[in-house]
Symmetry: C2
Subunit: 336 residues, 2 copies
């Protein structure tokens, strides 16, 4: 199938999902706005292992980008995809996975670019708009006295990656842990959850919508490069400091069996792992966040510019020890 044939197929397949906009030199989008726009990549051997199901790569690409829109409190609208891969790559399977995701999250695939290169590289641009009666969220809105919240647990995705390196995998939508040896039921359930969190992140769009439509103050960011690093970013943007409670980041059930496999303390993964794709946000102290959407308080915002960790009653400074995208070249890592 050549490029024009693939584009014709795609226009048909994506009819009603933006496909009618595909095929000119650029796509025309209606007047409106304000808009938010974000770009993120998934690259073979950086963000996923060679040989990963193309549909799986596509869904993850969409999810990690949608997480940025969730952190802005924006409603997804349009997607533009730049995809380059070897000519043997199953482009159709990629697009099937991508369009399923687009349908679930009501995104229209409105244009893109295809080319061949040895390494599968997908860059996605998403354009979002405000929810009705919503305001965009930003990193710079945290104030002393706010509480710091997380939209879910962190650390599981990094542990999931470590387990995948040890041979855990997904077979027909079920996690196969055989390669890890015997595990008790709690450790097995946690391990399976970690693998799924890594491979199938779920963007917190509903939490973003709730925050954007109900609160009047606060900051938000999504945790892609590790809690420590992303809280540092939020604090820097807001000109404040923060205290994180280690007790708010508890070990999951069965961790004592998994720690020897992963060879890192739980708190390292929770603070520095990354690829969690949960929202981190602040609210005035008297406001509660929706716990039914996974929100839990993990600390508070204070004056100054330092990020501290309170553990067993002791305060210590927390370095921004998340992943640095430019510091190293190596296999799939914890990159957002």
């Amino acid at each position: 199938m050549n490029e024009d044939d693939l584009i014709r197929w795609l226009k048909r397949r994506a009819r009603g999902q933006g496909g009618e906009r595909i095929g000119d030199d650029a796509a025309i989008l209606p007047a409106g706005g304000p808009w938010v726009t974000t770009v993120d990549c998934q690259i073979e051997n950086v963000h996923f292992f060679s040989g990963t199901d193309p549909a799986q790569v596509a869904r993850r690409l969409l999810a990690v980008n949608l997480s940025d829109l969730a952190a802005m409190g924006a409603e997804p609208a349009y997607a533009f995809l730049a995809l380059s891969a070897p000519s043997s790559f199953d482009f159709k399977r990629f697009f099937e996975g991508f369009l399923e995701g687009c349908e679930a999250y009501r995104v229209e695939l409105s244009g893109g670019d295809l080319s061949t290169q040895p390494t599968v590289t997908a860059a996605l641009t998403l354009i979002g708009k405000p929810f009705p009666d919503g305001r965009f969220l930003e990193r710079g809105g945290a104030r002393p006295g706010h509480r710091l919240w997380l939209g879910g647990s962190v650390g599981e995705s990094a542990v999931g990656l470590a387990l995948i390196r040890l041979g855990a995998c997904l077979r027909e939508n079920r996690v196969d842990l055989t390669a890890l040896g015997r595990l008790g039921p709690e450790a097995s359930a946690t391990a399976a959850q970690c693998v799924m969190r890594h491979l199938r992140p779920e963007p917190q769009l509903e939490l973003g919508r709730r925050l954007a439509t109900t609160r009047r103050q606060g900051a938000a960011i999504d945790i892609s490069d590790g809690l420590a690093k992303d809280v540092h970013r939020l604090c820097r943007a807001s000109g404040i400091g923060a205290v994180i409670e280690a007790d708010a980041l508890p070990e999951p059930a069965g961790w004592s069996e998994l720690e020897p496999l992963v060879d890192e303390p739980w708190l390292h993964s929770a603070l520095g792992g990354g690829e969690d794709y949960v929202l981190c946000f602040t609210l005035p102290a008297r406001e509660e966040a929706p716990s039914e959407l996974g929100a839990r308080p993990i600390g508070e915002i204070c004056r100054g510019h330092r990020v501290m960790l309170r553990q067993r009653g002791q305060l210590r400074e927390l370095p921004p020890s998340g992943w640095d995208h430019l510091a190293r070249d190596r296999g799939p890592h914890l990159d957002g």
Copy 2:
């Protein structure tokens, strides 16, 4: 320099050019529109040779994307860049080149994504808006009786690439043809022009603006994958056919000396070379296009769905023999 340092440097460097929007999870763009959006890539060893000056890669990336906006008759507004490269890559030099281009074309670099991978891969999303009193151009507006126009010459970029393969290169803004052996003055001038056309395409934004603001009928496309292929696309989108006059694609001066080097007839490069980045458009027969911007008539639109070439009085069907992005994996080619 790590990622956060680079982004801080970039925010400062791009101040007044969109830099104030960089650094949140997504960039907020003002309400307005309608908008046009396009995405295009430049990939090492696909669109440019390994070792090319990063500033040069950046300028070319911007130019080929702007050519898509020119073909839509849109005014450039915002850029979003996904850049992945080895950690040894000179990211700063890339951004210096990119921002120089942004300044020249009044584009704001408003966000992006950075990561490391072995192959330099840059995907650019551009968002444009209508010119004041302008209408967007589209591929589907060609009608029987229109004349077919080109915004400049085609074929030179493909010849330039062939000459670069033979050792021609750019040194401090001058084309060095030493590797090609002795050439007469006309052939030298043509060869230098071809190399520049390949390395430094110039998007026809002013021609796009003129067409968008003055004409009421017609179609437009930019020639990125070869004249034959892109005219086929325009015809398919408009539901019509076309006749191209071979005499309107004359050999450049000194061609007899260059043809043995390039080893392809001129007309092959002109029809199938690609990466020309000139506009191809149609106008009602009585309307003239601005010749001071390089526009020249090359044929006419007719009923049916075939694209024909008239050469020495003979009509023959012209296959869409431009470059197919998915058909082959090999070194730098003629890809748009």
